[in-house]
């Protein structure tokens, strides 16, 4: 097994899926000869040619909309939004169209499109290259929103997304792209959409999170282990629709739950997680369900002290776990 970075796992999944199924193609801004601004599509243009690796005009609604048309036809488009922040012009196509096509046609038409977008902060990207955008889409039945935390899951989930019969929004944390590496099997495998994953088992406090914060939570948990605090970590992986079963089990297990997101708190998807716990585990709780999130500002600023202040990190998580453990 080779050690791959998070972005190499994206790239490998694309290569393999395009090899296996000639209905799979990619489209987006700069995905062709340049290989994408983060090199997610590196090598695809040379291998599969310009008819399957399409540099589009600078128009996100068209990238999504043309992809949706091709998906209805029967293709398996993988559309790239250059930054998740720039998905906003495509919201109408994604929500009004992709998410509703099966339902509105009473199962006659379907829309198996995958829309990839790099999200998240910590890369000096400022307000418009750092955002967490999942909450905008996490209320739309018909759509799935996947946010993997580690290279292994990236490869397996991206393959599942491309093979899924329904539209999948696949959000990749851009700070994780080169930061996170691990062994990733060369062979074909998938990771199921809709299933959360226990990334670490523990007894004192349950941390439920997703994306880069899983990495931070692991670091925090390791440190706390030395202090004798045992942390369970749930990686949501699919943030919409949520895996209620795993959430309920893990929350009930320790009775102390910390929810973590890089997004600003109010209206973020961890509110829904909290509500699920509240509905189902009230009498198992030993402490209020605690949420740790970004501040209530529109997006992350550029200047280093401000970005740092906004960003989630292992220390913040460590402190919150400790507080809960001591509650």
């Amino acid at each position: 097994m080779a050690v791959l970075t998070y972005i190499q796992a994206v790239n490998q999944a694309l290569h393999e899926e395009m090899e296996q199924n000639n209905k799979v193609f990619v489209l987006g801004e700069d995905v062709g000869p340049k290989g994408g601004v983060f090199l997610a599509t590196e090598g695809l243009y040379d291998k599969f040619g310009e008819s399957r690796v399409i540099d589009t005009p600078l128009a996100e609604s068209a990238i999504a909309g043309v992809g949706i048309g091709a998906a209805m036809y029967g293709m398996r488009p993988v559309a790239e939004m250059q930054f998740a922040d720039f998905i906003m012009p495509a919201v109408n196509q994604i929500i009004s169209e992709a998410a509703r096509i099966r339902y509105r046609s009473n199962n006659d038409w379907t829309c198996p499109i995958t829309i990839r977008a790099p999200y998240g902060g910590g890369i000096h990207g400022a307000l418009y290259h750092s955002q967490s955008i999942e909450a905008i889409f996490a209320n739309q039945p018909g759509l799935k929103v996947v946010m993997p935390s580690n290279p292994y899951d990236v490869k397996g989930l991206l393959k599942s997304a491309i093979r899924d019969e329904d539209p999948v929004l696949f959000l990749e944390h851009k700070r994780a792209y080169r930061l996170l590496k691990e062994e990733v099997p060369e062979e074909d495998y998938t990771v199921p959409i809709g299933k959360a994953d226990i990334k670490r088992t523990g007894d004192d406090v349950t941390v439920i999170t997703y994306g880069l914060c899983v990495h931070f939570a692991k670091q925090a948990a390791e440190k706390l282990e030395e202090e004798g605090i045992s942390t369970e970590i749930v990686d949501l992986r699919t943030v919409y629709p949520l895996d209620q079963e795993t959430i309920i089990q893990a929350a009930s297990k320790t009775g102390k739950v910390l929810l973590v997101t890089e997004d600003n708190k109010e209206g973020s998807i961890i509110g829904e997680v909290s509500a699920i716990i509240s509905e189902n585990c009230l009498f198992d709780l030993d402490a209020p369900v605690r949420r740790l999130a970004g501040p209530e500002v529109p997006a992350m600023p550029y200047a280093p002290p401000l970005e740092k202040e906004f960003m989630m990190n292992p220390d913040k998580i460590e402190n919150a776990i400790r507080e809960l453990a001591e509650f």
């Binding site: 005009p57 048309g69 036809y73 339902y103 379907t110 018909g142 799935k144 199921p192 809709g194």
Partner: protein
């Protein structure tokens, strides 16, 4: 009219069939209004004034290969491509058997996969990039399919019009964009929607062919769409067609058009009705006799009566089906 594969003017059967379809669309629409005004169906959005362009365009397309992305006024188009009168009434009544959506969507939201009629929604113009996507897929798969998409002239001001056509133009895709210019977007007249003389002039800004035709003239529309279809099949890329007529009814059964346009204007436009014009042509040519007309009207009436009755008596989808078909089969990896 270049590269026409057969001469429309002399093929009697085709012409009479075209007339039949136009008239059927009109009669269906008229019945809808009656049913609405009598309280039998809650909503109608009308094709009246646009049947000629719809049918003429349809005849220039290929039923076997082409993908059709209609908008809510396209009763004529969906009829031509295989939706039955009964099915049209089933969707007007929103009954379970409605092939478009099983009664989930409002009337006029067409879609029927077996006839390559692509499902549509209410937000206008989203179908334009979809058509480009169908054309892209057909091209990738080397299929002789053309995507044909329609929209109102008001809808050409949405960003998706611009983005969808530009994409198709850059990639020289086999797609025909037909604007059904009926001079109003609900209450907003042409002059408050755009400042350009012709919607078809927008083609220039995409580097594609643009054609403007009288939408009440079946031959002109047929010729333009045929030319566009040939261009598409020959790898010459998309065409933007503007067909001009007039919306003879209020915007929908919920609209009162007297607040924004005069009766006189409507009356004078009614006089230009293309169906009448087309009929007169057939009569002049001797293709249609008085007795044919009577027979035809009687046939259509029976077809519409039967369809109405069937749809009226058909059941609604059961409330228990509400949550069906949100997602397909679960991922099983």
């Amino acid at each position: 009219m270049v590269n026409q594969t057969y001469s429309l003017e002399t093929d009697k059967d085709t012409l009479v069939n075209m007339y039949r379809e136009m008239l059927l669309a009109r009669r269906i629409d008229e019945r809808m209004w009656l049913l609405n005004r009598s309280g039998n169906i809650p909503f109608v959005v009308s094709c009246q004034g646009q049947e000629v362009m719809q049918i003429a365009a349809s005849f220039a397309l290929n039923k076997e290969h082409d993908y059709i992305l209609p908008y809510y006024r396209d009763v004529g188009i969906v009829l031509h491509f295989g939706m039955t009168t009964r099915e049209i009434f089933l969707q007007a009544y929103a009954k379970a058997e409605d092939p478009n959506s099983g009664g989930r969507q409002m009337p006029g939201h067409f879609g029927q996969k077996k006839n390559k009629l692509v499902t549509g929604s209410s937000p206008v113009t989203t179908q334009v990039p979809h058509a480009t996507g169908f054309a892209l897929a057909a091209k990738m798969e080397n299929k002789p399919s053309v995507a044909f998409v329609t929209m109102g002239e008001g809808s050409t001001n949405q960003g998706d019009f611009h983005e969808g056509i530009n994409f198709a133009a850059v990639h020289k895709l086999p797609v025909i964009f037909m604007v059904e210019n009926n001079k109003y977007a609900i209450s907003v007249p042409y002059a408050k929607q755009v400042a350009c003389e012709n919607i078809s002039d927008r083609a220039i800004g995409y580097g594609i062919k643009g054609i403007k035709v009288d939408g009440n003239d079946a031959f002109a529309v047929y010729g333009a769409v045929k030319e566009a279809h040939n261009r598409a099949l020959n790898g010459e890329g998309p065409t933007l067609i503007e067909a001009v007529s007039y919306r003879l009814t209020p915007h929908s059964s919920d609209d009162d058009d007297s607040s924004y346009r005069s009766k006189d204007e409507v009356t004078s436009e009614k006089a230009k009705d293309g169906i009448e014009k087309f009929k007169n042509y057939l009569v002049d040519k001797g293709f249609l006799k008085d007795e044919d007309m009577e027979k035809l009207e009687a046939e259509l009436k029976k077809e519409i009566n039967d369809a109405t009755e069937y749809a009226e008596n058909a059941p609604y989808a059961d409330a228990s089906t509400l949550t069906n078909y949100v997602y397909g089969h679960k991922e099983e990896n």
